[in-house]
């Protein structure tokens, strides 16, 4: 037993203190921005992370995917809905979201990421199709032509280094920052 205890203590120092400490020092020195959470400071003194979705309800901005955390977009308690698509509660929730969109935007197809909650509840990305549906709302709310916003969306599309690694996505946080830089708020 004493042998086991000594073994654990030595390894706690090696792989707990020294390893974690060394990686922290290296990460803070080489990648301070990423290691601290990709934090950006908005013009009005707001602090947010590029990688963490936060609640947006203003029509002049793009909205992230639905979040199932309590409350929504809770950056200190991540998680998904864990609802099964076979669960009537899920079906009610999703059909309501679908119908809100189909009543306001006239589109033939709605991308699934727009009406289904993400795994973390903090997903900062939306699909390109999702952004293209939202851009009409944003353009109307900001009083500019949809072409202007559409060009911004196109410039915000992120493609993985190899096309097969993952889908093309738009980071909502980055797009909204881009939007504020280029188009005035009304």
């Amino acid at each position: 037993m004493i042998q086991a205890f000594r073994f654990i203590m030595v390894l706690s120092v090696l792989t707990g203190v020294l390893y974690t400490g060394a990686i922290t020092v290296i990460a803070q020195k080489w990648f301070p921005f990423q290691a601290n959470g990709s934090i950006v400071y908005g013009p009005s003194g707001t602090t947010s992370s590029l990688l963490i979705a936060h609640a947006v309800t203003n029509d002049q901005y793009f909205w992230p995917r639905p979040s199932a955390t309590t409350p929504s977009y809770n950056a200190s308690a991540s998680g998904g809905s864990n609802l099964s698509p076979t669960n009537p509660a899920w079906q009610t929730l999703v059909s309501e979201r679908v119908n809100v969109i189909s009543d306001t935007a006239h589109v033939a197809e709605i991308p699934a990421d727009m009406v289904m909650a993400s795994g973390s509840g903090l997903d900062p990305h939306i699909s390109v199709a999702n952004a293209r549906i939202q851009l009409f709302r944003v353009a109307t709310a900001r009083g500019v032509s949809s072409e202007v916003i559409s060009a911004l969306v196109d410039s915000a599309i992120e493609t993985p280094p190899f096309r097969w690694v993952g889908p093309q996505v738009v980071n909502v946080n980055k797009l909204n920052i881009l939007l504020d830089r280029n188009v005035q708020l009304l």
């Binding site: 042998q3 086991a4 205890f5 073994f7 654990i8 706690s12 090696l14 792989t15 707990g16 390893y19 974690t20 990686i23 922290t24 290296i26 990460a27 080489w30 990648f31 990423q34 601290n36 959470g37 990709s38 990688l51 963490i52 950056a75 200190s76 308690a77 991540s78 998680g79 998904g80 809905s81 864990n82 609802l83 099964s84 698509p85 076979t86 669960n87 899920w90 079906q91 999703v94 059909s95 679908v98 119908n99 189909s102 033939a108 197809e109 709605i110 991308p111 699934a112 990421d113 009406v115 289904m116 993400s118 795994g119 973390s120 997903d123 990305h125 699909s127 096309r163 690694v165 993952g166």
Partner: protein
Amino acid sequence: MIFSFLIQMIVLVAVLALVGPILGWAIARVMDRPLGGDSLVSKIESGLLRLCGVDPTQEMDWKRYSIAVVQLTAVGIVVLALIQMVQGWLPLNPQGFDNVPFHLALNTAISFVTNTNWQSYGGESTLSYFTQAIGLTPQNFISAAAGIAVLMAFVRGIRSQSSASLGNFWVDTMRAIVWILLPLSIVLSIFLAGNGVVQTLSRGPHGIAVGPAASQVAIKQLGTNGGGFFNANSAHPFENPNATTGLIELAAILLIPAALCFSYGHWVKRKDHGRGLFIVMTVFLVVGMGICYSSERITPSAPGQRSLVVGGNMEGKEMRFGIPQSVIWATATTAASNGSVNAMHDSFRPMGGFVTMAIMALGEVIFGGVGSGLYRMILFAMLTVFVGGLMIGKTPEYLGKKIEANETRWVIIGLIMPSLAVLGGLSIALVIPGISTLLTNPGAHGLSEVLYAVLSAANNNGSAFAGLNANTPGMNTLLGVLMLVGRLAVMLPVLAIAGGLSVKSPGPDTDSAEITRSLLFYVLLGSIIVIVGALTFFPVFVLGPIADALRH
């Protein structure tokens, strides 16, 4: 989408088939090298062993080796539980979290010491940085290394020329950490931190949880641990920020379990056997991925919706991974006994969820945990040898050693105990008063939530149908017991078999009784895995995921 799925799957298998043999060769070399030496790592190794007070020349027979395993497990659980229960008074707790209650602390301690990494707690909302970095991270390393050590002991049992020694548990475990797990983790964690995984000891601004995650995420993938720094695990943008980190982490999940197949080939001087086991595992993995993909590519619809929804089942999945990487990950993580998730399995369609459960029910032998997956696969191989021996009417031999009554008995115990724990545990869980109030989903899917939990615990996987609220004294205790059974009731029989084999002298050097050289052997092995799994679990799968799928 199918293009992305196929290419990612092919790339993943290709990486395992190309890098696996190289890493496997390296692991075989370092685990077998004599102690001492002039290199820096050898000096660190010797120095650490001296600090631990280990006498490296001391040889252990199977009983002493087992006692060491049990002692490390027991002391690990006590230490880790205590750290959590006093974390409120310890440093590195910027969020000011309270001490963890006893039943949760015990469950978490067992979970990490047994390489399960089931999470009844919510990472960023329960545990301090001290608990995560200095409590959990070391157990991520130790539990994985202990798996490699037990595998090594088994190999010595096969190789030994009638001597009872299986090596030294402390030396084997230390070696696996210093030479294999730690160097790979350092490289991976720096890569991850550069790509957006957080690594800081300060508190995040405005309620954005951060912490020393990169260092822990690296070993949680490499060591088939799977316990997330954050509650959403690898779906959290701070643990897995983009599709590229996703693919690299995915490879890290399977890398060491795959490489160990090739190491095994080197160790027992039967490279074809190591390769054969790798191929059997890969076939199961690819089939699982295919079924899971065909389930999740379909967009579930809700009655009453007035527009068509397209893009697959995105509930609980992250946009940056999309459907292809989410299903590949789900299959890999349940196959490799890792249990980290990049999507919420509870929200998969019934057949997709069924794949993740079925692949655990096969006994975590499709790659499985670091070390533990392979030694469980070897139990199946020995069972196959036994069955094959009955068919041809000869005394079965495995790699030159006769498989007799003693070995067969332990093989059966090692294979049956986790299944017994699953079905027994399920029966107990279902009669816990108020169990249905812990569920998120009704009907057959609710049963699946409980079934998933016991499968995951008793096979040391750690992933969950997270709709089940398992953080209650009853469930924490039950799942804790299952995790211990799933770990020790396999490890100890494996060591007993190693002990039995070690004292036998190898048979005459003829191939007559050795059936492991034929292709037919691997077909039989695959069939036995399926038959044992299906016979044990088919009835309960019918009531859970299959009923769920048929109703919708």
